[in-house]
C-alpha cells in the first residue's frame, strides 16, 4: 500500500522575542496558526485535526497544555494530539502530523509547536534533582561542552570554527524578520571576545531563550492542487532514538542521527547528500554542532565537517548553505525550534524565504535533535512532488 503524498501549503510563525508579555500562551499559538491559515488561504473549518508539540511542560508550568489550548487552536470537536520528544519535538510533531495525512486518516492537518520561555525559567526546568541520577547542574551547555571538546580533539579542528558558525548564523538572522536576535553590529571579533561560558563554548556561540510559535498546514495531493502558493512536498521523514547514556554511545556522532538521515535519504532517493541536497536547516544550539552534524548527516567525512565551515561552504551564498534563517543560535523557543527548522526548509523549496532565500533551492533538509543527543527527527522537502 503506498501512502498519500504530503504537501506543506501554509506556514506561519511569530516574531520571536525574549518575552511576549502582550499575549497569553493561547494568544501566541493562535497568532502562528492564523498566519499559516492565511498563507494557505484556508479557514479554521478546513482543518481536520491538530497536532501540537512543545518541550517539557515545566518550561511554562502548565501540565498537558493542549487541553487549555484546544479552543485557541480551533480544535474543539476535532482530534488533537500532543507530542513531546525533548528538543527534537518540533520535528517529531510535524512527522506525526504527516502520518495522519500519509495514512489518509485526515486530509488537512494543522501542526504547531511553541515555547513561551518567559513564563518560567528553562534552566530551572532542566535542573530539577533526579533521584539516583547524576545532576546536569548547568543546563544544556554543561552537558554538551565536553562532547564539543571531544569533537575538537578527534577532528583536529582549530578552535576558531565555532565562532565562524555563530558569526554566520547571526548575520543570516538579520535577513529573517522573525528571528529573535538581530545583532546589527555583529563582528567576528565580538563573537570571539564574548565571555567563555562552558569551555569551549562562548556566550555568543549559544542560543537565546525565546518566546515563539510556528505552525504549518499539511495536506494531501488534492489539497495541494487547491493551494494558492507553491507547496513544499515531503520526500522523506524519519525519527530515531537511542538511550541517553551507555558505554557504547558516541556522543560526538550518535548512531541514531546517522540512521535517521540514512532512512530519510533512502526514502527521498538521495545518493550523495552533499551533491543532491541544496541547503540544510539543522539544529545547532551551540555553534560547534554545525561541523559535528555535517559529519553525522553525511555531508562530510568523519573529521572533515569543520573544513566545510571554514571554507565558507555553509555560508548563505556558499555551496551548501546551513541555517539560512539564522538557526537555533539566533532563535530558540525550545519546543518550536525543531519545527522552525522543518518550516524554514519548506519555505526555501517554496521559494518564499524572502531575503534569506537560497536561489534554486529544490531539495532542503530540516533536522532536529533532543535529549542527550539521543532523539532525532528529520524531513526532506522538495519543490516537486515525489515521483514514487
Amino acid at each position: 500500500m503506498s501512502s498519500e503524498p504530503v504537501a506543506v501549503v501554509g506556514i506561519g510563525q511569530t516574531k520571536h522575542v525574549a518575552a511576549r508579555r502582550d499575549v497569553s500562551m493561547a494568544g501566541l499559538v493562535r497568532e502562528a496558526a492564523q498566519r499559516a491559515l492565511t498563507d494557505a488561504e484556508l479557514t479554521w473549518a478546513d482543518i481536520d485535526a491538530v497536532v501540537i508539540g512543545k518541550a517539557p511542560d515545566f518550561f511554562e508550568g502548565v501540565m498537558m497544555p493542549e487541553l487549555y489550548l484546544a479552543d485557541a487552536l480551533g480544535a474543539v470537536g476535532k482530534p488533537m494530539l500532543r507530542v513531546h520528544t525533548a528538543g527534537s519535538v518540533g520535528g517529531s510533531t510535524a512527522l506525526v502530523a504527516t502520518n495522519l495525512v500519509r495514512s489518509r486518516v485526515h486530509a488537512t492537518v494543522l501542526t504547531l509547536a511553541y515555547e513561551k520561555q518567559s513564563e518560567s525559567n528553562a534552566m530551572w526546568g532542566l535542573s530539577l534533582p533526579i533521584p539516583f541520577q547524576q545532576p546536569l547542574l548547568a543546563g544544556a551547555g554543561g552537558f554538551f561542552a565536553p562532547h564539543v571538546r571531544a569533537y575538537m580533539r578527534r577532528s583536529g579542528a582549530p578552535d576558531t570554527v565555532g565562532s565562524l558558525v555563530a558569526y554566520k548564523d547571526r548575520r543570516n538572522a538579520l535577513l529573517n524578520p522573525y528571528a529573535h536576535l538581530h545583532e546589527h553590529d555583529i563582528t567576528l571579533e565580538k563573537v570571539q571576545a564574548s565571555p567563555m561560558l562552558w569551555d569551549p563554548i562562548r556566550y555568543s556561540e549559544t542560543c537565546p531563550s525565546s518566546d515563539g510559535a510556528v505552525a504549518m498546514i499539511l495536506t494531501d495531493r488534492a489539497g495541494a492542487g487547491r493551494a494558492p502558493r507553491p507547496p513544499a512536498w515531503l520526500h522523506g521523514g524519519a525519527m530515531r532514538s537511542e538511550p541517553t547514556l551507555f558505554a557504547g554511545k558516541d556522543a560526538v556522532s550518535p548512531k541514531a542521527g546517522q540512521d535517521c538521515a540514512a532512512d530519510v535519504y533512502r526514502q527521498a532517493g538521495i545518493a550523495d547528500p552533499r551533491r543532491d541536497i541544496d541547503a540544510v536547516e539543522m539544529y545547532v544550539p551551540f555553534s560547534w554542532y554545525e561541523p559535528m552534524w555535517l559529519e553525522n548527516l553525511g555531508f562530510a567525512a568523519e573529521g572533515e565537517g569543520w573544513k566545510l565551515t571554514e571554507a565558507g561552504v555553509t555560508e548563505l551564498d556558499g555551496d551548501l548553505p546551513v541555517n539560512m534563517s539564522g538557526g537555533v543560535l539566533s532563535t530558540n523557543p525550545i519546543g518550536a525550534s525543531g519545527m522552525i527548522r522543518f518550516a524554514e526548509a519548506a519555505l526555501q523549496v517554496r521559494g518564499l524565504a524572502g531575503e534569506h532565500q537560497v536561489d534554486g533551492a529544490r531539495r532542503v533538509l530540516g533536522h532536529a535533535y533532543g535529549g542527550g543527543s539521543q532523539f532525532f527527527s528529520m524531513w526532506l522537502v522538495g519543490s516537486e512532488p515525489p515521483t514514487s
Binding site: 515545566f58 497544555p65 513531546h84 512527522l95 530539577l128 525519527m239 532514538s241 538511550p243 540512521d259
Partner: protein, 352 residues
C-alpha cells in the same frame, strides 16, 4: 484505510498505592518483557515504538527519556512519545502502521502518582491564567459534574454507589487491580462524591503490541482487530461545556464505527462513578453490554496508563474469546474534556 491493524498482546503491572522502591524504568521493565514474551518478539523486531507519560507526575522535565533505557533502544529505534495517556500513543502507532512503513508497534505507558499529591498536580493542567491559580482539584471538578447529573435527574447517590459496588466486585477477578472485592462507599470527599465514587491513587504501567494483517495472525491466535479508532476534544472551560453530556465521546464513537453494530463489552475510562453515567449515555450502551469487567478505573487508575489499560483489557477479552466486539474508551482533561474511542473485534470463533 485498507490495512488491518490488531492488538496482539497486552501486559500490565499490578497497580499499587505506592512503589517507592522502584524507579519508573524498574516498574516498566517487567511489563515490556512480558508483552514481548507473549509474541516472541524482541525489541529489535519492533518497527515502531510509542509511549505516553507525563513529566508532572515524575516531577521533572524529560522524564520519559529514561524509560527509553528500559526499552533497550540499541541499535537505535524508530520511536516517539506523546505527553498524554498511552491510548493516544496507541493512536499514533496505529496511524504509523496504516502508512505501511512497518508491520509491528510497541506501545507503552506508565505513571507514578504516589510521589506527589495527584489532586494538586492535576490542577496544573487547567487554564494557567484564570483557573489554575485557584487550585480547583480534580475531585472537586468531578463533583461539580456529578451534582449537575443529579440535579438533571440522570442519576442519584444510590445509583452511583451501585456503579462503585459493581466495579469493585468485578475487580475481584482482576489480580492486577488495586482495589478488589467489597469496598465501603465511604464518607464524602467532595459532596456528592464519596470515597467509593473516586478512583484509587496508584502507580502502574501497561504495554501493548500492535501488528498489521498476516503479521498479527502469526503473533496471536485471535487478534483484536481495530475496526475504528478516533478521538475528539472539547472546549477547556467548564463554563462553556454541558457537563452532563459528552459530545466528544459520541463523535469519536461515531467516527470509530461504534454505532454500526452493538458491542458486547465496553471498557470505559471513567475515574469517577458519575462519569460512567455520562459515558453510557453518550455511547448508547444498554444494560446488556458488559461494562468494565476489569473493574475499570475505580479499581485501578494509574494516570497516563489507565486509558491504554482499557484498550488492553478489551483486547485481552477478545484474545480469550470472552468478547467478539468490544469498545474501549480513554479520557483526558477535567470532566471528560478529551475522549478516545476504539472498536475492537475478534474473528468469528467457529472459523479455525
Amino acid at each position: 484505510m485498507t490495512r488491518e491493524i490488531a492488538v496482539v498482546a497486552f501486559a500490565q503491572t499490578d497497580h499499587r498505592r505506592t512503589s517507592d522502591e522502584l524507579s519508573e524504568v524498574e516498574m516498566l521493565m517487567p511489563v515490556l518483557h512480558e508483552v514481548l514474551d507473549r509474541t516472541g518478539l524482541k525489541t529489535s523486531d519492533i518497527g515502531f515504538t510509542c509511549s505516553g507519560s507525563s513529566d508532572y507526575l515524575a516531577g521533572r522535565a524529560f522524564s520519559f527519556t529514561l524509560a527509553l533505557d528500559g526499552v533497550g533502544a540499541w541499535p537505535p529505534i524508530s520511536e516517539s512519545h506523546v505527553e498524554m495517556d498511552g491510548a493516544w500513543a496507541l493512536y499514533e502507532a496505529w496511524t504509523k502502521l496504516l502508512t505501511g512503513d512497518t508491520d509491528t508497534a510497541l506501545v507503552y505507558a506508565y505513571g507514578k502518582s504516589s510521589p506527589g499529591s495527584v489532586r494538586d498536580v492535576l490542577t496544573r493542567q487547567l487554564d494557567p491564567y484564570y483557573v489554575a491559580p485557584l487550585w480547583p482539584d480534580s475531585v472537586a471538578l468531578a463533583a461539580l459534574q456529578a451534582q449537575a447529573l443529579i440535579d438533571e435527574g440522570y442519576t442519584d447517590e444510590p445509583a452511583l454507589a451501585a456503579v462503585a459496588a459493581r466495579s469493585r466486585a468485578d475487580a475481584q477477578a482482576n489480580s492486577h487491580a488495586q482495589l478488589r472485592g467489597s469496598v465501603p462507599h465511604g464518607e464524602y470527599v467532595v459532596h456528592p462524591l464519596r470515597t467509593g465514587d473516586c478512583p484509587p491513587i496508584g502507580d502502574g504501567a501497561a504495554a501493548v503490541i500492535l501488528a498489521a494483517g498476516d503479521r498479527a495472525r502469526e503473533l496471536c491466535e485471535r487478534p483484536a482487530w481495530i475496526r475504528g479508532i478516533d478521538h475528539r476534544i472539547e472546549a477547556h472551560s467548564l463554563g462553556v461545556r454541558e457537563l452532563t453530556d459528552s459530545p466528544s465521546t459520541r463523535l469519536a464513537a461515531e467516527k470509530a464505527g461504534a454505532f454500526e453494530r452493538p458491542v458486547d463489552t465496553a471498557e470505559l475510562h471513567a475515574p469517577f462513578t458519575s462519569q460512567e453515567v455520562v459515558l453510557r449515555k453518550a455511547l448508547r450502551l444498554g444494560d446488556d453490554v458488559r461494562v468494565n469487567p476489569s473493574g475499570g478505573a475505580l479499581a485501578a487508575n494509574p494516570i497516563m496508563a489507565a486509558g491504554l489499560v482499557r484498550i488492553g483489557e478489551a483486547a485481552a477479552r477478545i484474545h480469550r474469546g470472552e468478547s467478539d466486539r468490544a469498545l474501549a474508551h480513554a479520557t483526558s482533561g477535567p470532566c471528560l474534556q478529551q475522549n478516545l474511542v476504539a472498536v475492537l473485534e475478534g474473528e468469528p470463533r467457529h472459523v479455525q
